[in-house]
């Protein structure tokens, strides 16, 4: 006769059930697909340059691959960032997806073996011939997940960089000369301040503030300085001349009223809107704003590279990556190849994006032409210095907190640089 102790039996049954539930969704190692479906994820808005170009690429892919179904799923940037590692570990991985570039993102996945090594495909399709060296830095990762060398794990279709956006109408109305040197730039800031206008749009709660800080450091930096900081090829010293100058200058700009003290809690969107609304005459930020400014600015505006700085923030754009568990890898490679073709690249360029392999003559829109020419100028002089939050996971939050201290005056430049050094040293890979 079977005798079961009741509570024990119940607990055992429940535990078994729970284990059954929680064990669902484990990896099956990426079975071979049928070659009939391309599962594609990306997080670009449909009306953005990338969204438009990639929709065109999907149509083209369907033409060249009759009978193949494209299963496109629009994802959110945050959604992919927060869940990618779990999804890529499972059998539900897509065949191709857009992912963030950098050590803490694509580098981390590459290091863990979750991405397909694309090196053979790069050679086969000749993608490396289309990309400039500073654009490809973010495509390659070594065994430690550090960008800049090793195998190819991602292919970028577009580039991005930062520039000074300025409101031509406000400059003219206030009799301020458009600067060509750093001195003139500071004179312009002072001239606006004298008229009671806070010249620089800023968002201290997000990236704009630390992009100002990094750009100021870059005015005193060179490639080897960037390589030390971003690629750990030397020691990053936050009390060196470049960082010290940057922290002091940013603090100084706040004291002089060039940056509002009240911008410490503002978001990037607030900064952008204050430029769009004609409140701030100058906004130093990235090419990702370009299309929106073109659509929404109700005034004459222009852009120029940060004066007297050989280097500026920027890199190759987000990457196409092929998960290790992708079932139809060949289809994924074919799709990447289509996105690198001139037609798609030209569409990208004519819609406010920065293509990596377009035909200059095919870019008909004058403002897009200027945007792409400036990118090519920076890229050709090896001036893309990446982003300050890349070297260390979680450094973005540290930079936000540090620059907020500079803006609110709750920390001295020296204390802020100490804080950055401490977080950097704790997070940067040793050896």
């Amino acid at each position: 006769m079977l005798k079961v102790r009741r509570p024990l039996a119940l607990a055992a049954a429940a535990l078994a059930g729970a284990m059954l539930i929680t064990s669902c969704g484990s990896s099956d190692g990426g079975a071979e697909g049928d070659g009939k479906t391309l599962k594609l994820w990306h997080y670009e808005a449909p009306n953005s340059a990338m969204g438009i170009a990639w929709n065109q690429a999907i149509e083209e892919f369907k033409k060249t691959h009759p009978g193949v179904k494209v299963e496109f799923e629009a994802k959110g940037f945050e959604q992919i960032q927060k869940t990618a590692s779990m999804v890529l570990n499972s059998s539900n991985a897509p065949d191709l997806m857009e992912y963030n570039k950098g050590n803490a993102t694509a580098g981390l996945l590459a290091k863990q073996g979750l991405l397909t090594d694309l090196t053979p495909q790069v050679t086969k399709y000749g993608w490396d011939k289309l990309l400039s060296p500073s654009v490809t830095t973010t495509s390659r990762y070594d065994a430690k997940g550090v960008m800049g060398s090793g195998n190819w794990y991602g292919i970028p279709n577009f580039g991005e960089y930062t520039m000074v956006y300025y409101n031509k109408d406000l400059f003219a109305k206030n009799g301020v000369k458009v600067p060509t040197t750093f001195n003139e730039f500071e004179q312009a800031l002072a001239a606006f301040k004298a008229k009671g206008i806070t010249p620089l749009a800023n968002g201290g709660a997000e990236y704009p503030a630390h992009q100002y800080l990094y750009q100021l450091a870059l005015t005193k930096a060179d490639r080897s300085w960037v390589d030390s900081f971003e690629l750990y090829k030397g020691k990053a010293d936050f009390h060196d001349a470049a960082w010290t100058y940057a922290a002091n200058t940013l603090s100084d700009w706040v004291k002089k009223g060039y940056i509002a003290k009240t911008s410490s809690g503002a978001k990037a969107e607030d900064a952008g809107v204050s430029f769009i609304g004609g409140k701030s005459p100058i906004f130093f930020s990235g090419s990702w704003w370009y299309g929106r400014f073109r659509d929404e600015n109700k005034f004459q505006w222009g852009s120029f590279l940060f004066p007297e700085s050989k280097m500026t923030l920027g890199s190759g754009g987000n990457l196409w990556v092929v998960p290790k568990n992708a079932k139809n890898k060949q289809l994924a490679y074919d799709f990447i190849d289509i996105t690198m073709k001139k037609g798609i690249q030209n569409t990208l360029g004519n819609n406010g994006g920065v293509p990596v392999a377009a035909e200059p003559s095919a870019i008909t829109d004058p403002s897009s032409k200027e945007l792409i020419e400036n990118f090519n100028k920076v890229s050709d002089q090896d001036g893309l210095a990446f982003y300050p939050d890349w070297p260390v996971p979680g450094f973005y939050d540290v930079l936000v907190s540090a620059t907020q201290k500079l803006i609110t005056g709750s920390g001295t430049p020296d204390q802020v640089l100490d804080e950055l050094q401490k977080a950097y040293d704790a997070g940067a890979p040793t050896s």
Binding site: M1, L2, V4, R6, L10, A11, A13, A14, L15, G17, A18, M19, I21, T22, Q81, K82, S85, M86, L88, N89, A104, L108, L109, K111, Q112, G113, L114, G204, A205, A260, K261, T262, S263, S264, G265, A266, P393, G394, Y396, D397, V400, S401, A402, Q404, K405, I407, T408, S410, G411, G427
Partner: protein, 300 residues
């Protein structure tokens, strides 16, 4: 010989199985996994490496961790102590004064108004408050300027000196409706003859509140305090929407610290250690609170 069917002393126990399975799957197993990961170094992908007590040792030395707990104390003040104290007075005033002199309909409408912030999703409330508290063109600063108090204008969420107090004020507003509703429900069951007797003895409103209302709804006060304290220790949404722990960590709380460690720093082991410590503190407080409540009820 036929096997006798298994007899359970309580046949209803079988009906508990689905709930127990769900509880195990959704709470116990993930919690056990969280504890396990807190003893490892792991970036969320690949294999975790065993770290023993390293994360906890690190945590004890981490000034951000301690700062986040200091802010938790402020949150307990804003979400439990102040709303309970103010809620008591408001509930008593609605029930005893408004209800009696202006009718129970008005009291109900006002109670609903106080409860409204509890119904609003915190993200919506947070975004609206961030507009109100915006340094430039924010309603609060504009209002101050309009009434001639322009000198009091501040960067409410962007200045480390004020950000925590601003978040606390928003949380008082969010939380107040909950104690009001619970206390008003509690007041419904207080024997009216107690108030009548007190009135005959010539007591004023405050004396009745102090000597009748408070002792009578003590169980509700315990429940509200406990509930709100736990909510305060776990608070995440409001901080995420209003300040993301900033400026310069001045509003960071343990749950947000854990979240950012997990997802921004991809340091899952350390994030799990923070979450584990937070959970243990909440469990300990809950146990103490429940014991205290039971003992005082027994004493009555």
């Amino acid at each position: 010989m036929s096997a006798r069917p298994l007899r359970l002393r309580n046949p209803y126990a079988l009906y508990l199985i689905p709930g127990v399975i769900a509880f195990l799957a959704v709470v116990i197993v993930p919690f056990a996994m969280n504890i396990y990961f807190s003893f490892t170094h792991w970036q969320g992908v690949g294999s975790p490496t065993w770290a023993g007590l390293e994360n906890y040792r690190e945590l004890m030395k981490d000034s951000r961790f301690w700062e986040s707990f200091r802010h938790s104390v402020a949150m307990v003040l804003a979400m439990a102590v102040i709303p309970t104290a103010v809620g008591l007075v408001v509930a008593a005033a609605l029930f005893d004064f408004i209800g009696k002199h202006f009718g129970s309909k008005l009291a109900s409408v006002l109670r609903a108004c106080f409860y409204l912030p509890q119904v609003l999703p915190i993200t919506v409330a947070g975004i609206v408050w961030s507009w109100i508290l915006a340094p430039e063109n924010g309603s609060l600063n504009e209002l101050l300027k309009a009434v001639g108090l322009g000198s009091l204008q501040q960067d409410w969420l962007g200045d480390p000196k004020f950000a925590l107090y601003s978040v606390m004020a928003v949380m008082v507003w969010v939380q107040l409706g909950f104690p009001v509703v619970i206390f008003m429900a509690g007041l419904q069951r207080v024997d009216p003859s107690l108030y009548e007797a007190a009135e005959l003895d010539g007591t004023n409103w405050w004396q009745r509140f102090w000597h009748v209302t408070l002792p009578q709804i003590r169980p509700e006060i315990y429940v509200v305090m406990l509930w709100c304290t736990i909510a305060a220790l776990k608070v995440f949404g409001a901080v995420y929407v209003l300040t993301k722990g900033g400026p310069a960590d001045s509003t960071i709380v343990p749950s947000y610290f854990s979240f950012s460690t997990f997802f921004e720093k991809t340091d899952v082991g350390y994030g799990s250690a923070i979450a584990t410590v937070l959970t243990l503190i909440i469990l300990a407080l809950t146990t103490v609170g429940l014991r205290f409540q039971t003992r005082s009820e027994d004493a009555q």
